[in-house]
Amino acid sequence: MSIAIMKKSGPFSHGLNSVQKTMFTVLLALLPATLFNLYLFGWPAIMLFTVTVGACLVIEAGCLSLAGKPVMATLADCSALLTGWLLAMSLPPWAPWWIGVLGAIFAIAMAKHSFGGIGQNVFNPAMVGRTVLLISFPVAMTTWIVPHPLFSAGAPGFFDALAITFGGHMPDAVSSASALGHIKTELSRHIPVTQSMADVPGLMDMMLGYRAGSMGETSAILILAGGLFLMAKRVISWHIPLSVMGGLFLIATIFHLVDPARFASGTFHLVSGATFLGAFFIATDYVTSPVSKTGQLIFGIGCGVLIWLIRTFAGYPEGVAFAVLLMNSLTPIIDQYTRPRAFGRNRKGEPLPLEKKP
């Protein structure tokens, strides 16, 4: 009986994981928070979400066919879907449709495919998309809305939503500042943090999500649950999330203790803004974060500290996107210097000395 001659060497066994499975698990982890927030912000958010994700898929397909690569097979690995999803979650929920489309172009075509496609990009595509949008269209990107839950009184109906998302017709008197934005603005008016904190929603509300912000900022508790689910499924390890949150919390607490009037507390920083989303879903992106565990810890701490620095001293109230992008640029060099030690060799690569037996 003849058998197929294998042109491949071993091993002849493989684990059950695959790229598609991993992406799927991440999407599953994001689902609760996404659904809740779509409910919170109503039809315009649903439309924007659909437009953004759809645009990402279309642009991905376009870039792939331009590059002569197989389109359906590559789309099936869900990486463009995930990028679009994360990008949509970082946008203001009632932003006009062209924000979503432009963001998709920046994220997929510019930050991913111009570098060579999946696995080759240096910067997190969703964050590049968001950052370029923020810098180019600061007003549209900072128009935050108080939650108008779906089907509640005052929430825009389907056709009103069409007007908002596609017609650019933003109803008056609905915009609101996010908590971080409010603190910063008040500080610039010389009103200390201790006072402006009274205006922001309480800790519980911030955790649950009944506040203004992007979809990824609200409902911190659902994001946290999703992140813990990912860790349980071993898709991500604890290193990056813990070091991002730990780094941020520590430096914020230290400075808050030094001057509470100027600096917000550590817990505030943790629950406001996109901290949880950034720690569990954005900074942990495989392609743009270091591969070794030590490297990941350095990366995470760097992100945490930068987030605090940018939120406190820089011109923008939210710092996750910038912090992640800055640390992404350091990933290759972190990788180079945190390579694991080879068995039987020291860190320099020389064989270990033979231990003299007594």
């Binding site: 491949k8 060497s9 690569k69 097979a73 590559t74 496609g117």
Partner: protein, 187 residues
């Protein structure tokens, strides 16, 4: 204004002079590149590179006139060593990797004239006058200088046999779902 012009001119002259002195006294001694390149070549003066001998090829390489891929008996190891020394990238993808060859004497045709023995640059032929000649394969590196001198055309070049000792896995031929198929290089 004059002070400014004057002081800058003086500074320029002084610094320029310093640079000139440095160029003369602190110059990095160039190693004799040609000698080092010659060391990397097999040294059998077979002429397959198109130059008369290994020294001439080395001279041409040092001047940058010759490609590093011209020496068949040296094999890939020599190409890479030359490329490294000259600091160029050896484009071995186009390099027609001629399978390493060695000479083989067809015993039916050999008349024992010893002409090939005298020609062999590495003494890889065993034999004596009127006795059968044979190739010592370990010492033969395929320069093929012996082939034209044999009066009965008894010498042929044959590829070095692949045995269990020198076989290795070929490069994986990957059909990547995300890119055009990558073809492995025959090795």
């Amino acid at each position: 204004m004059w002070i400014a012009i004057g002081s800058l001119t003086v500074m320029g002259i002084i610094l320029g002079a310093l640079l000139g002195l440095a160029a003369k006294f602190l110059a990095v001694k160039e190693n004799p590149l040609e000698e080092e390149l010659k060391e990397l070549l097999p040294g059998s003066q077979c002429g397959q590179c198109g130059y008369v001998g290994c020294s001439q090829y080395a001279a041409a390489l040092a001047k940058g006139e010759a490609a590093v891929t011209l020496c068949p008996p040296g094999g890939k190891a020599t190409i890479e060593a030359l490329a490294k020394k000259l600091g160029v990238t050896a484009d071995t993808s186009d390099h027609e990797e001629k399978l390493p060859e060695h000479a083989f004497i067809v015993e039916d045709l050999c008349i024992g004239c010893t002409r090939c023995i005298r020609e062999c640059s590495t003494d890889a032929i065993m034999g004596a006058n009127k006795l059968m000649h044979t190739i010592i394969v370990d010492a033969c590196h395929g320069c093929s200088k012996c082939v034209p001198v044999c009066p009965t055309d008894a010498i042929v070049m044959v590829p070095v046999k692949v045995t269990l000792r020198n076989w290795h896995w070929p490069k994986p031929e990957i059909e990547n779902t995300h890119s055009k198929p990558e073809v492995g290089h025959a090795h």
